[in-house]
């Protein structure tokens, strides 16, 4: 049993490695992942509506969200279009292994993308990261959750523009409601309640506390737990919906 699980994990890693080479690590994906959130932040900064304490955690979370969801959804849709997804379906791997492999590629990409924004931001703003390991775990959890969201989006899209449209439909409301730009306490009570159902809220919070605290706090642990639950829920749902729609 343990051997089977290990073999599945190894094959998921091979799928992730292939995805990273074929789809992820290309200049346009980096620029898109960074450009959109950075533009939003600049626009809000000019309007003076961003809490300065949120810049590093908020912007990093948004970069992970935009970068991973878009490329994850596009990678799956492209595989469906070109017929290479059939190659994976015909191979001796479970459907969940395929999806896990795809999400792992998103996880690696999210970590690299986050580092590309977090490190320069921390240097520029003079932010001292108390415990880099806590930040890394928060970034990895966020990346896995948003990759899983990308898988779910890909299940409903037949074409790349459709995947982008569906992703934006989820990303933009989430970006404004999750405390990435403004502390949640400043949002109206109803919107604050909605924010508690959004994974980006926990990503922003986990990053903020992990940057400031050297040891895991209760809030940080709860954020990671909730992000993990989101990951599992979105991965299982994404796999089920995608499998059903491929039939």
């Amino acid at each position: 049993m343990a051997r089977t699980w290990m073999q599945s994990l190894i094959k998921a890693f091979y799928i992730a490695k292939k995805d990273a080479r074929v789809y992820y690590f290309k200049a346009p994906n980096f620029t898109y992942g960074l450009l959109m959130p950075v533009s939003l932040f600049i626009a809000f900064s000019i309007a003076g509506r961003i809490d300065p304490s949120l810049i590093v955690s908020g912007l990093t979370s948004l970069v992970i969200l935009f970068g991973t969801t878009s490329i994850e959804a596009v990678a799956v849709v492209l595989e469906k279009q070109t017929g290479t997804f059939e190659r994976l379906l015909a191979a001796p791997v479970s459907f969940f292994t395929i999806i896990l492999g795809k999400a792992l590629a998103g996880l690696f990409f999210g970590v690299v993308l986050a580092a590309a924004i977090l490190v320069p931001l921390a240097v520029i703003s003079g932010t001292v990261v108390a415990n880099p390991v806590l930040v890394l775990v928060a970034v990895a959890s966020s990346s896995l959750t948003f990759s899983a969201l990308g898988v779910l989006v890909s299940a409903y899209a037949k074409w790349v523009p459709e995947a982008q449209m569906l992703s934006n439909f989820l990303r933009f409301p989430m970006a404004f409601l999750s405390g990435a730009f403004l502390p949640l306490e400043l949002l109206p009570a109803e919107l604050g309640a909605v924010a508690r159902f959004l994974p980006l809220t926990y990503s922003v919070e986990a990053l903020r506390v992990s940057i400031n605290d050297s040891a895991p706090t209760f809030t940080y642990s709860m954020d990671l737990l909730i992000l993990s639950l989101f990951s599992i829920f979105l991965l299982v749902l994404g796999a089920k919906v995608l499998q059903h729609r491929l039939e």
Binding site: R21, G83, R87, A90, P92, V93
Partner: protein, 326 residues
Amino acid sequence: MKAIVEAKGLTKRYGHLLAVDHVDLEVFEGEIFGLLGPNGAGKTTIIRMLTGQTKPTFGEALIAGHDIVREPIKAKESVGVVPEVSNVYDEMSAWDNLVFAAELYGVPRSERGRRAGELLELFGLYERREEKVGNLSKGMKRRLTIAMALIHKPRIVFLDEPTTGLDVQSSRVIRPLIKELNESGVTIFLTTHYIEEADQLCQRIAIINQGKIVALDSPERLKARAEEGHVVEVSLSPATGLEERLKDLKYVNGATRVGEKFRLYVEDVSLAIPVLADFCRENSLKIISINTLKPSLEDAFVKITGLSPEVMAIEKEHAKKGESLG
């Protein structure tokens, strides 16, 4: 003989559409088995069910003794799949594509490179191994797709339209490779629009129409079933605009134009030829040549599926253009 594929009551329904209707078939270890059928008959759906890419609505299939629904991973370990579209990764090199296939099929790390090298040599791609696959020709991509299906030394290979859309030269390279592969002990399950291809390669052929197997036998026996009908091939001058008029002649069931000649499907040659001669005289047409033909596998296919010869001609045209016909 031992069956490597056993399908019982295999059925696939998409909403109201019954794509495959209670198909029973056995494929024996070591044979080349062909699946022939017209447009949308269910050939690709059968392959997709037998290779675990889609679940049957009803019925079951055992691949190398493993149920494809209950034990999909074990069943797939014995199978190589070459789909209708060459599904290679254009962004990766031929070498990397093969290594990825080896990783996916659990080929031990120590054997991956050696196996990839052997297959690249066998399929004449070794010199281009480092090039991005997107730069390779359609025929080369097809060969690479077949090579990728063989990386784990499968017991059976499913080939869905292996030469459709390829130029004559590429097809001529691939057909002997399929034979060689079979001679090395690999069972082949083949679908093709080229009836001549099935005739040349397959030891047994199943003819499928509207989701049902309507005949299953050796090519020679299938041809024998068509001998009750006859074919008259005639060359006329001038030859323009005659097809429709020839079809309307008494004792003629159908007519197609094949190059410069007309092929007439008749019930009785001795009755049809005098009618044809009268028609030519009345229309001042000169008979350049006239022959009666031995039924071909195509004639058997037409007779068994009930398709008109015209539809078959259209199917052949589609196949030449490489269009997907399901």
